[in-house]
Symmetry: C2
Subunit: 366 residues, 2 copies
Amino acid sequence: MSPPQPDPYDPTGIEHHTIPSFTFASGTTLHDVRVAYRQYNTSSTAGTVLIPTCFGGKINTTLTFQSTPSSALSKYHVVVVAMLSNGESSSPSNKSLFPAPGELHYEDLVHAQHDMLTNGLGVKQLEAVIGFSMGGQQAYHWAVTYPDFVKRAVGICTSARTSGHNYAFLEGPIAALTSSIDYVAWKQIKAKLAEGEEVGHHLREVRPKQGLAAWARAYAAWLTSAAWFRERHWEKMGCKDVEEWMCVREDGYADWDADDLLTKARMWQMADIGSTKKGVVSQLRHAPGDDQALEDALKSIKAKVLLMPCRTDQYFPPEDSEGEMKHLKDGTLEVIESSWGHIAGGGANPADVAFMDAKLAEHMQR
Amino acid sequence: MSPPQPDPYDPTGIEHHTIPSFTFASGTTLHDVRVAYRQYNTSSTAGTVLIPTCFGGKINTTLTFQSTPSSALSKYHVVVVAMLSNGESSSPSNKSLFPAPGELHYEDLVHAQHDMLTNGLGVKQLEAVIGFSMGGQQAYHWAVTYPDFVKRAVGICTSARTSGHNYAFLEGPIAALTSSIDYVAWKQIKAKLAEGEEVGHHLREVRPKQGLAAWARAYAAWLTSAAWFRERHWEKMGCKDVEEWMCVREDGYADWDADDLLTKARMWQMADIGSTKKGVVSQLRHAPGDDQALEDALKSIKAKVLLMPCRTDQYFPPEDSEGEMKHLKDGTLEVIESSWGHIAGGGANPADVAFMDAKLAEHMQR
């Protein structure tokens, strides 16, 4: 038996909204910034729900809670949106002069998505914005940036501010990739091509393979949990041993653009709704953080918030969600009791999806 | 304020035992294999305690439980021994043809240490073998290999078999280092020099700096815990933010030989007293493992065992120690209740050292 091969990505149903002139939080202005999205159930009169992608997500790998007629979102108009830098929306891989790693911020994602929803689709208000991991951090930033636009916010395995531990974990894959022999070479080639040529066009199919594999290995043990390995759930992924599971993880990153990944990872490290609320652009170097600003930002949220951390998530632990609950006006905490760790929230385990779907359905009635 | 700089290593008191001809588990035989060690309290009549080094340990950075007259081991003859491949004993960095990463096994360490104790120091029996992390894995291998030589075995933040999760975590720093641009170059130079020259002599002062830094960053978030970062204990390490703590971790590995680190890490991944008991040399590729053999090996241990995992250790979790307890004839479990994670067991936090010292003192009376 060979380890499972990933299915080729199917881009069915993806649409694009183009913003003629978009100014990033860093100050850069670019023309024709594109936001990729997919709509489900457009004839719905129940209202619109926005689901931004997560770190490793594409539009058509995102959980929509629409799989059966009784699913939590089956009656809603659902818009799944690709975050900037995921390779489907504008990203380092497909857009010259796109902000480099460390220069893209959650504020940019939310502003671009707001433009897509209002100027593109004519949406006046969201019934909910729902996200997993970095998608949940987008949901939090939405609720702080547009408090009257968002009736509900749902954060699955996520946080309002990236913790020091989470920051430190991300330094691992980032260092593994950026120190790798082929990423260094790839950047040198890219720098030469960038002197007047459209970068993405030339380099989209070239990958620093060894660097991406090192990235995957520095990331893999974080994704699930010690209990997940103890219970040998890699067997449920079709792997005969842990080494095969590592190879599956390598395959999962093999087709990503290295700078798209790095730009997202650096943005993730800087997540802080406290800065957003104060109108300060987050800095990359991880300072202790302004606890009062975070508290103020949480208190400013008008949306009804549902937080669903997973008990065994190693980098978005439930303790951090519990801390946020203290300052939310209208917060509900439902812990996913699962050994699947972080990826429980992404839909890796059917029992956890059923739990989330049920809790989400309750929340949509609040 | 700058981040704290590490003190230069002080080799005071280190002695060497030379084994004229030593055959490794891999089949290789080398002449003049050296075991470095340091003795404390040689005039003691209370008996001898062996303390092998941990993964990142040197002889004189190892906790000896002798710091005060009332410390647990203050009346014992303590021998701290450097594991093979730590750079003080024979290692890839100082010995031509030394087993490469994946070819050194815990059995080799234990046999070499046994030779040092019996033929070198004339020790007939150990009152205890005590180890933290990889040191604890050595203690376990000692208890299985020489069941009548070891009266007590103490494992601090360790396991009898490296878990799948622990294996997977180690893949991160290993991939980060081995994929790095300067490690690849360093290996090429080393291969050329090795054609007839003493490798360590030429390369001991040359380091793949970027690769070692990537190793450190892929390792850093694992060392403590999410709670440790939440409680900002990096401030107790003299760091003003998490990024400075990452730099401190880089400094901690900057002077290590890359292949010494890799040889130890691969051995760690293969730890399995079940294989040792069966007389099978462990394989690198992580298979599910033979649970029956592990159980048989645990049951075969005659030593009184004390296990002290830390509650928040991310890769040697207390659940794994609890699993081992079920099969030990004479086992005691004392969990270190601390947010310091794995490094609690290495002596990073004074309160945890005091706890361990007290529990160790009790155990030495059993």
